[in-house]
């Protein structure tokens, strides 16, 4: 295989810095919980539905507990206590709270409440484990195995209407998509609740709701059976409700989730503490559910320059990797993100793309790398854009990426039309087929420009991580070290949802989901 000479000691030093950076954030954040972590907990315990104003019951209960000053001991305890007292299900408790028929007071036997919560958690985990097993079975039946042609073709649908999305997703699967991602409506990430039911009115995407997940899952299972492949379903475990979406996804057997430790902070101006806490909990759920997370380093290159900022991508991937280990993910579940975003006018830009992609491949040999297509330098010239996408496809196969997000020639114009997707798949299949074994047939010149470039990026990454280790991740973000965007520890949305844990705080899930405890990378 094409291979670059890299200094392994340098990689190790960078990785060690990242481990310490993530560990420190984790320790700091472990002292608090958030409203959405608690709502996710309630969802996993079986609370669902909305009130007459379309406010989800998990929100009603958590708001209620916050008013009662009880949230800092964990929503699970209070609800379980009420269940014990009333002999109701969690859902019945929630409905009663929402209807104003029940006031939760945190009273009752704590141990009994814990037991009840544990029992519900066990049941919930069983369901999720069963979904995971079913995924494995479906993949097994489809005949997919290690030898399936990589990279996986990843397509998005984004009509705003779940039923149109389903049409398009089915067509995409028939045309060859391996993964279908349903893009979320513009702005959902800043909603502090998860909408409910099947939805048909999104902008630039379709609301992530549990019902929409279910509908799409069923459709993909059906078309998957028809085409003889397991079609993976992806959504966005991001924004102010990250943990809840993880819970919904685990329940409905999603296969991948966009889930980044810093994306919300940087790109959605969500508060840092909120995000770190939420991402830990959501990532734990994803880990347990066997979901592959996709991190969002590709986004850095939409605001910063892809050549100048190449090392920030690698540094961030290393941090994401360590956060993932802390949440119990295996390397194969780490869809570390990067992108083909160098200006097409730059002389030798293709060489630098090769260098970057190959570097990432070698630094994370076991990760399920997610490689993103050109977006920023796509224009309304769809013909040229289609060629940009072809070169991206080429780098992806030559450097053996895993999750290949298909570039659309209409990227600068609109969310994909059905024909855009169709042509994008053709493009990728053609390139992947005609270059099937190219990756093992060419070599990069030793000491050449490509190798030098990769080494330079690695060296910059090492020093960047050393600096972050010195000042701490929050300060690094405050200085705009990622994506040239600055965020402070107390700025941004959602800080009001961060709650210091009180003594006796209880959540029944981590001990189950983290089975062997956090992994170590």
């Amino acid at each position: 295989m094409a291979h670059l000479q890299l200094d392994q000691a340098r990689i190790d030093r960078a990785r060690n810095s990242a481990r310490r950076i993530a560990g420190r954030v984790f320790d700091d954040m472990d002292r608090s919980t958030t409203t959405t972590v608690e709502r996710a907990t309630l969802r996993l315990m079986g609370i669902d539905g909305v009130d007459e104003n379309q406010v989800p019951l998990p929100n009603r209960v958590v708001d209620h507990l916050q008013e009662q000053g009880l949230l800092n001991r964990g929503a699970a305890l209070a609800v379980a206590a009420a269940m014990n007292e009333q002999g109701w299900t969690a859902q019945q408790v929630a409905e009663a709270v929402a209807a104003g028929r029940l006031v939760l007071d945190g009273g009752g036997d704590d141990t009994a409440a814990r037991n009840t919560a544990d029992a519900l958690a066990a049941q919930s985990c069983e369901h999720i484990a069963a979904q995971r097993a079913q995924r494995a079975a479906l993949i097994g039946n489809s005949g997919e195995n290690g030898e399936v042609a990589q990279p996986w073709l990843y397509l998005i649908v984004a009509t705003g209407n779940i039923y149109e999305d389903i049409k398009q997703a089915r067509a995409a699967a028939e045309q060859g998509a391996d993964i279908v991602a349903v893009i979320r409506s513009t702005g959902q990430s800043l909603l502090d609740y998860v909408p409910y039911g099947a939805t048909t009115e999104g902008f630039g995407g379709t609301y992530a709701t549990q019902e929409n997940f279910r509908l799409m899952r069923a459709a993909l299972d059906e078309v998957g059976a028809k085409v003889g492949r397991y079609i993976r379903l992806t959504n966005y475990c991001s924004g102010l409700c990250m943990p809840e979406i993880a819970a919904m996804g685990a329940i409905e057997r999603l296969d991948m989730m966009l889930n980044d430790s810093m994306y919300g902070i940087i790109f959605r101006d969500i508060n840092m503490q909120r995000t770190f806490i939420d991402q830990f909990f959501s990532r734990m759920i994803n880990g347990y559910a066997g979901i592959i997370i996709n991190t969002g380093e590709d986004n850095y290159l939409t605001t910063a320059d892809a050549v100048e900022a190449a090392h920030t991508v690698l540094a961030s991937q290393m941090i994401n990797e360590q956060f993932a280990y802390l949440s119990g993910l295996a390397p194969e579940q780490m869809g570390l993100g990067h992108a083909f975003e160098i200006n097409p006018e730059l002389e030798n830009g293709f060489l630098w793309e090769l260098a970057h992609a190959q570097l990432v491949r070698q630094v994370f040999p076991d990760a399920s790398l997610k490689y993103m297509p050109p977006t920023k330098h796509m224009t309304g010239n769809i013909f040229k854009g289609h060629v940009q996408d072809a070169l991206f496809n080429m780098v992806s196969t030559v450097t053996q990426q895993n999750i290949h997000l298909l570039g659309m020639m209409t990227e600068a114009i609109h969310t994909p039309f059905i024909q855009d997707r169709f042509l994008a798949i053709q493009n990728a299949r053609y390139v992947f087929g005609t270059m099937r074994d190219l990756h093992s047939e060419i070599e990069f010149k030793s000491g050449g420009l490509i190798e030098q470039r990769a080494q330079a990026v690695l060296a910059e990454t090492e020093s960047m991580l050393a600096e972050i280790e010195r000042i701490g991740l929050p300060s690094a973000i405050a200085q705009g070290m990622f994506a040239e965007i600055k965020r402070t520890a107390t700025g941004g949305k959602g800080l009001d949802g961060v709650i210091a844990k009180a003594p006796g705080y209880y959540n029944p899930f981590p001990k189950r989901m983290l089975q062997g405890g956090p992994r170590h990378g």
Binding site: T159, Q168, T379, F383, I418
Partner: protein, 246 residues
């Protein structure tokens, strides 16, 4: 039949989305860009957007547009002209010829006039065939004579007379300035003049040929892309039987 109105589809039923590109013979400026947009409006596209506009030098400019077609079409009203026959395989064709004609069917083929694109006619006639479909030369019951490229119509007709051909196959690939229409008309005029037209089964094929066009030109059948020897052979014996019966 029930009406079946359809519109182009982008990402929602009946959104009418179409993509368009063209060149205008003027340099790029705000006026030409607006001109491009108005052309799309004139074509009946709602909310047309010029998504790309670029100057090409020497007084030309290039545009890419998207818009929403107002037009819709009722598919239920569309009748596509098709030669009526059942496509047999090679064995089936041979058997039918043997049974009904009791002799070999004689087929003479050529690329006529200035056209030298023989790959298409070779695909139909030569032994080897195309895409795994053997050509007419490989049919026991067909005598296939492929005259090749740039054959004058007169020469083709003379040969057809000499060989007592049942079928003439013509290929036309170059269509620039509609030269194929001139060539095809010329051939059928000559056949007419020779009093041969009634006696011969006259077939044309090529990438821009449709059955409809062939009929308009007075041919018996037309075959477009992805035609194979068995298609034209099935048509020919079928037509022969029909005429015999008439």
């Amino acid at each position: 039949m029930a009406e079946q109105w359809i519109k182009p589809y982008g990402d929602t039923q009946d959104d009418g989305r179409v993509q368009l590109s063209f060149t205008l013979p003027v340099p790029l400026d705000e006026v030409s860009k607006e001109g491009a947009r108005r052309l799309a409006l004139a074509m009946g596209l709602d909310e047309p957007a010029v998504v790309h506009a670029e100057d090409m030098g020497q007084g030309f400019s290039f545009y890419v547009l998207y818009g929403q077609s107002k037009h819709r079409i009722d598919l239920s009203t569309i009748q596509v002209a098709k030669p009526e026959f059942e496509v047999l395989d090679k064995e089936g064709v041979n058997a039918l010829i043997a049974e009904k004609m009791g002799r070999k069917m004689v087929v003479v083929g050529a690329c006529i006039e200035t056209d030298a694109h023989t790959v298409g006619i070779d695909a139909i006639m030569n032994m080897k065939g195309y895409n795994g479909h053997k050509g007419l030369e490989s049919y026991h019951e067909v005598r296939a004579i492929n005259m090749g490229a740039q054959v004058d119509s007169e020469e083709l007709v003379a040969r057809a007379i000499e060989e007592r051909a049942d079928v003439i196959l013509v290929s036309q690939v170059v269509t620039q300035k509609n030269i194929h229409l001139d060539n095809l008309t010329r051939l059928s005029d000559i056949l007419e003049a020779e009093g041969m037209r009634e006696r011969i089964i006259l077939v044309v094929g090529g990438p821009r040929i449709s059955h409809e066009l062939a009929k308009e030109l007075g041919y018996d059948a037309g075959f477009g892309p992805k035609s194979y020897a068995e298609d034209v052979a099935s048509f020919a014996i079928n037509e022969w039987i029909k005429r015999k019966a008439a």
